[in-house]
Symmetry: C2
Subunit: 565 residues, 2 copies
């Protein structure tokens, strides 16, 4: 596909001093904190300082239902930003920060690919400016204060079995999923069963992504419910006097990070909440900064439009007050072929042989998935642009099928070779985005906040996923009633389900019909401000494989990092 | 003592741009990575680039046996550096990075005090540049790879009960001291008992403090022994293919951080290994950079001269190849009074009433401790300077007693009011340091590396602590033999004991005689390169108190951090 590896391209790319990148975006040194020459944090003062500036067009980058390999949404978003610059538009990009843990798991980084990458790739995929570490520290301080409270006499009368606040580490560590803590002698705490999630699953990270100011961050952290007392009333981080310290730990992490693409387009990297149980979007404050710093702001939402984009629309946009002008739907030939139901893609193994052959019929057979995702975006009143991320083995007549599907749906369409050609390869796609942004939008949510929690879940299941209805397990129904009583009824909802199908069943490809969404369990993320419904097995702590990437990552003779990509 | 609080002084202090601070120390922008305006990392290239420059006088800052309150060693080191500048000498300071966990425990920061502080205090006591987070991540990645290895079939035939590599967090969290991991189902790992230490106790941190280059770091990480296989042979991080990834995680953390004092003197902050079970000194590379960047380099060693300074001499100096010209012995009136054995000091409570009265006899009664510490330093062939850190309630005739004790021992002496007066208050002390550095030194170690491990432990116990001998428990003796067989016999030794007495018993004040050191257990830190003998209960994971500082730390109306100091 490319003669040079991603790593070689990244190393050969010229980076501008980050202060220059910021200056081009109208962000002055008074709002920057440098972290080396190529990364800076942007002060939140920039939001108010720039509020009178013209607003950028706002584009969410989403995808059809992906294969387990991912369809190159990040690199396509990078390519479009680069392409917009090529056609003379000032653009900016807002992406999630990759979690460090998985870097040492199956694969290396999440910095884009080829000539559409984010630099510096090593920093991006490791500590960056330490925001994930701050989330880990704040999260675990609260956990320590909970166990300390139990140990010191339990004044708040916390029911130990009700404590749902676990600990987090940013490492794939399956042995920490279920643990017993507090063993030893009387001075070593109170024994109880709990566990660790990966940091990207932390509610603290979601809070950071939704907070609009340091004060809002403080207030949201205080509202975190860690469990219940014996009178079944919620116990909060505020009750434990933990929220102030958590805020102090997170104060720098609230500032978005500025990096650049391989073509020096500014990129905001900020927060990275999980796309399955959490919101799967980058931060509100990053978008608020980006919206006054460019003509076109692209923001990426995790997984397909049923996942990250639905939460972008129904959760994030409500908080930010920003409404998108267009949605880019990333699609690949291989993903459409998978939605034919004829092939199974397994990470770490070559694609099934038949998939690589020229077979337009496979693409047609997968079309219902793309059509459904276009409908989802239209359901929010937003103009869709189908972006075909080209791979070297893609056949012309297959590409043409994707174009025809998109055009039959009335969507804008362009294929893009940004991975090989950078922004030049995405110029046509960039023009399609510009055209889409000129169309009028009538943005609307899937549900009103005043609806009941169950109705909101049903609205997403039927209106977005295409389910016939929902089946709520009795315990979950009881908990929903409890949540309504506790005053959580006005929250938006997040539905935790597989990202590999529009349904809750990863095996159902295409656009499944005639199914109902089973709600097994419901939980409240009170600090973040949503209720989430668990539909299927949600893994919140990955494991390492037999031979994880960590075994290959190293330094070479010259001290350069190898194996990261 | 001061009208302004430490926090108010810190906020009011003028900081120079850190690039200017570096430039005054002869460190150019080509060796700096800025982290904001007031913190920078220094590239290790500076060591070789500057190796032809003149060498600074090298002074270790140590103390008599402290009370549990600490005797202001950091602030005195800061004061001397400021005082040296006042009398026209270019000075530099190398300090350990404080661990973030305890900041939220009993007390706030470790940034000095009053007008002799390190700035910026908030960064110093929280994330700084993320080095501790990197240690945590690298340490826990190895732990995850161990449990993953057990889960994936245990090819190396690791005996699970022999695994001594625990996990770490930088939080006081007693509930994590003893845990069972790997619970759940077959896919959730192999159940076993283990635990968490605080990050400052991590061998990875000690390795970082002793590594002389990225390659040396890589090699030391590879030599970490995590446990044994069923043939009782050591299993290393290299065997698990973890050392490369750990190095990549730590590559930025190997670079020392540059900050400044309240009077803009350059301060190197780097690594912070525990002073009880580990080396308790800042890094070799920080000292190697500082030695060519000033006329006087002060480096602080943890606790009393029996603890951090002994390891500074016998462990750190062997690695760095640097030999000190003088040792500053920090002493307080209150500590000497405590060594009379007539008073008990309890953290968080007021001093016993009698201690605050004018009573020179109490000071005389504590003199044996100071005399012994002066002898310890002399034993290494290094010139001692007794530095009396003055407190507002100290009485003139008590101060005079300290002077007489020091002078009777032939040591240089000065009292210092740096906390109230900054460098001006430490000018006399700075002159004493300059005078001491003009005396010839004949540096010598306590033992030769060729001696047996038991002989080395005995040499420290008798030659440094003043014990009559050592008593090695049978299991420990067997383990020492095992270590000799495994080729660890050439390592230096670290003796893990209380810092509150020259002996292993915190209750024995002054200069205890007629006692023997009981060695309960021995362990090998093979990556760091030493064997440590455990004499008494060593806590490697603190707990939070009933009302930890975390409950008071917060942001105020203006978003400023409060409660940190």
């Amino acid at each position: 596909m490319t003669v040079l590896s991603d790593l070689e391209i990244a190393r050969a790319a010229h980076t501008d001093p980050i202060g220059e990148v910021a200056a081009r975006a109208g962000i002055g040194p008074e709002h920057l904190e440098l972290y080396g020459n190529d990364v800076a944090k942007i002060s939140l003062d920039a939001v108010t300082a720039h509020e009178d500036r013209p607003r950028a067009k706002y584009i969410v980058v989403t995808a059809i239902t992906p294969t387990p390999l991912g369809e190159g949404k990040t690199t396509t978003a990078v390519g479009i930003a680069q392409g917009l610059e090529r056609i003379g538009r000032r653009s900016m990009l807002a992406l999630r920060q990759p979690s460090m843990g998985p870097t040492f798991g199956i694969k290396g980084g999440a910095a884009g690919a080829g000539h559409s990458q984010v630099l510096p790739m090593e920093k991006l995929n490791l500590h960056l400016t330490g925001d994930f570490h701050a989330i880990t520290a704040a999260h675990n301080l609260l956990a320590a204060m909970i166990d300390n409270h139990l140990h010191q006499g339990n004044e708040l009368d916390i029911e130990p079995h009700s404590v749902s606040w676990r600990r987090v580490v940013d490492i794939n560590d399956r042995a920490l999923r279920n643990v017993i803590v507090g063993l030893g002698s009387r001075i070593d705490g109170v024994p109880r069963e709990t566990g660790f999630d990966i940091t990207a699953a932390s509610e603290v990270g979601v809070i950071l992504s939704l907070a609009t100011s340091l004060k809002d961050l403080r207030a949201r952290l205080g509202r975190i419910v860690i469990g219940y007392n014996r009178a079944k009333q919620p116990v909060t981080a505020e009750d434990l006097h933990a929220a102030g310290s958590m805020t102090v730990i997170l104060r720098d992490a609230l500032k978005p990070n500025l990096l650049q693409t391989t073509e020096n387009t500014p990129v905001l990297i900020h927060t990275g909440p999980f796309g399955n149980i959490a919101t799967g979007n980058s931060s509100v404050v990053a978008d608020q900064i980006g919206i006054t710093s460019s003509d076109y702001l692209l923001t990426e939402a995790g997984f397909g439009s049923d996942m990250g984009a639905e939460r972008f629309f129904n959760v994030k946009c409500r908080v930010s007050g920003l409404h998108p002008d267009a949605a880019v739907m990333v699609v690949t030939v291989r993903a459409l072929k998978t939605h034919s139901g004829r092939y199974t893609v397994v990470p770490g193994k070559p694609l099934p042989e038949g998939m690589t052959l020229d077979n337009p019929d496979d693409v047609w057979a997968g079309a219902p998935n793309l059509r459904r995702h276009i409908e989802i975006v239209r359901g929010f009143g937003v103009t869709p642009v189908v972006a075909l991320n080209l791979f070297p083995g893609d056949h012309d007549d297959e590409i043409d099928v994707v174009r025809r599907i998109a055009e039959e749906c009335g969507a804008h369409f362009a294929a893009s070779t940004h991975v090989v050609d950078g922004g030049a390869g995405a110029a046509e796609l960039a023009r399609a985005v510009v055209a889409a942004c000129q169309e009028p939008t009538r943005f609307r949510y899937t549900y009103r906040l005043e609806a009941s929690l169950a109705d909101k879940i049903e609205a997403v299941a039927t209106g977005v996923y295409g389910a016939d209805g929902i089946d709520i397990a009795p315990a979950a129904a009881k908990e929903l009633t409890h949540f309504q009583q506790l005053g959580y009824g006005h929250f938006p909802v997040v539905i935790a389900k597989t990202h590999l199908s529009l349904s809750h069943d990863a095996a159902l490809k295409g656009a499944p019909t005639g199914w109902r969404l089973p709600v097994r369990e419901v939980r409240a993320a009170v600090g973040a401000g949503y209720v989430y419904a668990i539909c299927g097995d949600m893994r919140t702590m990955p494991g390492l494989g037999r031979h994880p990437a960590a075994e290959r990552i190293d330094i070479d003779e010259n001290g350069e990092t190898v194996g990261l990509f």
